[in-house]
């Protein structure tokens, strides 16, 4: 509604609320701008692509190749996502379609609790349990050697962290499929599984996708739990059992230290900017796709 069409009595409240609505937008712009300004000294010396695609990270000699960190971020996030999504979908299908009311009542608060645990607790648990699990059992099982501090450990921890979020949202989405619609399919002689497969899944696909994207965005940015178990070695990862050094870990470990090295601060700001662009780009892509499918199906 335009300002002109508001009655005079609504003018005051509108003017009082509008600035606050613009604040988040302005903040996003300010963050982007600050990172860009700080990254600029390095960008004016070297080309963006040489910084992104170089894998030599030797700050003391002026080499700021970010490729290992970008790859680390992608490896950890995608592996966590691949581990979490099938489990999340099966769990949420069970909870929404099969579980008796009693089970649902127990599960929901537990999921909320897990979603709200501080990530440092997941990280500590990862160091205590997951890292030894990888070094003593999983890596030998596949004939590898690993200290345990690895992409696999990080993605296992991360998968566990994003599971409750994806499950909660998916269950909401599945529950929103009208009972009458399921009954319509049942009364055509479909089994419960056929109803899930042909009706429920189809109806809730966009919502489930949104749930997964939510989990994925959380995985991209998760810092502390990952850096505790991922090894933090700035090299191109060779397998799931090698250590890696994702962008958020790089920033959290180093920003504010060794700033005397020329170009270092600028490089870290560029890394932050890249992380921001990856996450935002990803969300936009997902949103665009969601709009597209919801338009096609309605």
């Amino acid at each position: 509604m335009s300002i002109q069409r508001l009655s005079r009595r609504d003018r005051g409240p509108e003017l009082a609320t509008a600035p606050f609505a613009f604040f988040p937008v302005a903040l996003a712009g300010a963050i982007f701008l600050a990172l860009l300004i700080k990254a600029w000294p390095l960008l004016s010396l070297k080309s963006l692509s040489s910084l992104i695609f170089s894998s030599t990270w030797l700050p003391s000699r002026g080499h700021f190749g970010l490729w290992p960190f970008i790859l680390g971020t992608i490896w950890v996030t995608i592996s966590a996502f691949v581990l979490a999504v099938p489990v999340a979908i099966l769990t949420s299908l069970y909870l929404s379609e099969y579980a008796p009311a009693r089970v649902k009542r127990i599960f929901q608060p537990i999921l909320d609790l897990l979603a709200g645990l501080p990530s440092v607790i997941y990280g500590m648990w990862g160091v205590l349990i997951v890292v030894p699990l990888v070094s003593k059992y999983l890596a030998p099982f596949f004939g590898r050697q690993s200290s345990g501090y690895s992409i696999l450990a990080a993605s296992l921890v991360l998968a566990l962290m994003i599971l409750p979020t994806i499950i909660s949202v998916s269950v909401e989405v599945l529950n929103s499929v009208p009972l009458a619609l399921k009954e319509a399919a049942l009364s055509l002689g479909a089994t419960r599984f056929e109803v899930i497969r042909y009706v429920v899944m189809k109806k809730s696909f966009p919502g489930m996708l949104a749930a997964c994207v939510l989990g994925l965005s959380r995985a991209f940015g998760e810092t502390i739990a990952v850096l505790m178990v991922v090894g933090n070695v700035p090299a191109i990862p060779r397998s799931l059992f090698s250590p890696a050094y994702p962008l958020p870990a790089l920033l959290a470990n180093n920003y504010g230290e060794m700033m005397s090295i020329p170009g270092y601060e600028s490089a870290l700001n560029l890394a932050a900017l890249l992380l921001l662009v990856i996450v935002v780009g990803f969300s936009l892509l997902a949103r665009w796709y969601l709009v597209r499918i919801s338009r096609r199906s309605s």
Partner: protein, 253 residues
Amino acid sequence: MNQTSRLRVENLNVFYGQNHVLKNISLSLPDNRITVIIGPSGCGKTTLLRSLNRLLDEQEGVRVEGRVFLDGQDIYQPGVDITLVRKRMGLLSQKPQVLPMSIYDNVAFGPRLLGLRDRRHLDDLVEKYLRLAGLWEEVKGRLQEPASRLSIGQQQRLCLARGLAVEPEVILGDEPTSALDPQSSRNVETQLLNLKENYTIVLVTHILRQARRLADYVAFLYFGELIEFGPASEVLISPRDSRTRAYITGEIS
């Protein structure tokens, strides 16, 4: 009554937890006739309808006692394949529930569940049942469009076609016109009247005028009890029970 009935209810009791919602109902639904179940809201009309194709089973905390016979077989007998029972009864719900797929796929859904894959055969079935539901002429040029784009009246007729496509013997309707505009309601009613020649139809309605237009037989339910059942001319015009009379004259609702 010299009517044959393939669908019979015997001593049916339904409980929602501690709530006794259907009390010892016995009823034979005449073949190839429209039986309309009337009664005030909350009297168990819908529950009775849903007990006929065992949709009640899908709800938690519901207990069903008694028997429902379809062609001599008790459908509540353990070991009965519920999906086969349900295939023999089409259901129209209050609001049309189109499946999230194309018009064509909605109608083909049931036959495909039965394993029918042959495209030409499916095409024929889709056309046949859309015609039978009086929808073919309106949608024949856009069968691949999502069913959700149809008007709500068209959606209800699509649901009818979809239900007919599994070749049921019985059509169950739970206030199937309550969400529709008068024109679409009339359209659905006409289709039902045309269909009774070949199907046994059971309708729940709270609209007495609709009962008068459609019913061959009327069952009056009141607080979970079957008060009166008989030919529409008797129940709607000269009811025997004072409660039926009170309901029909609008004294209780």
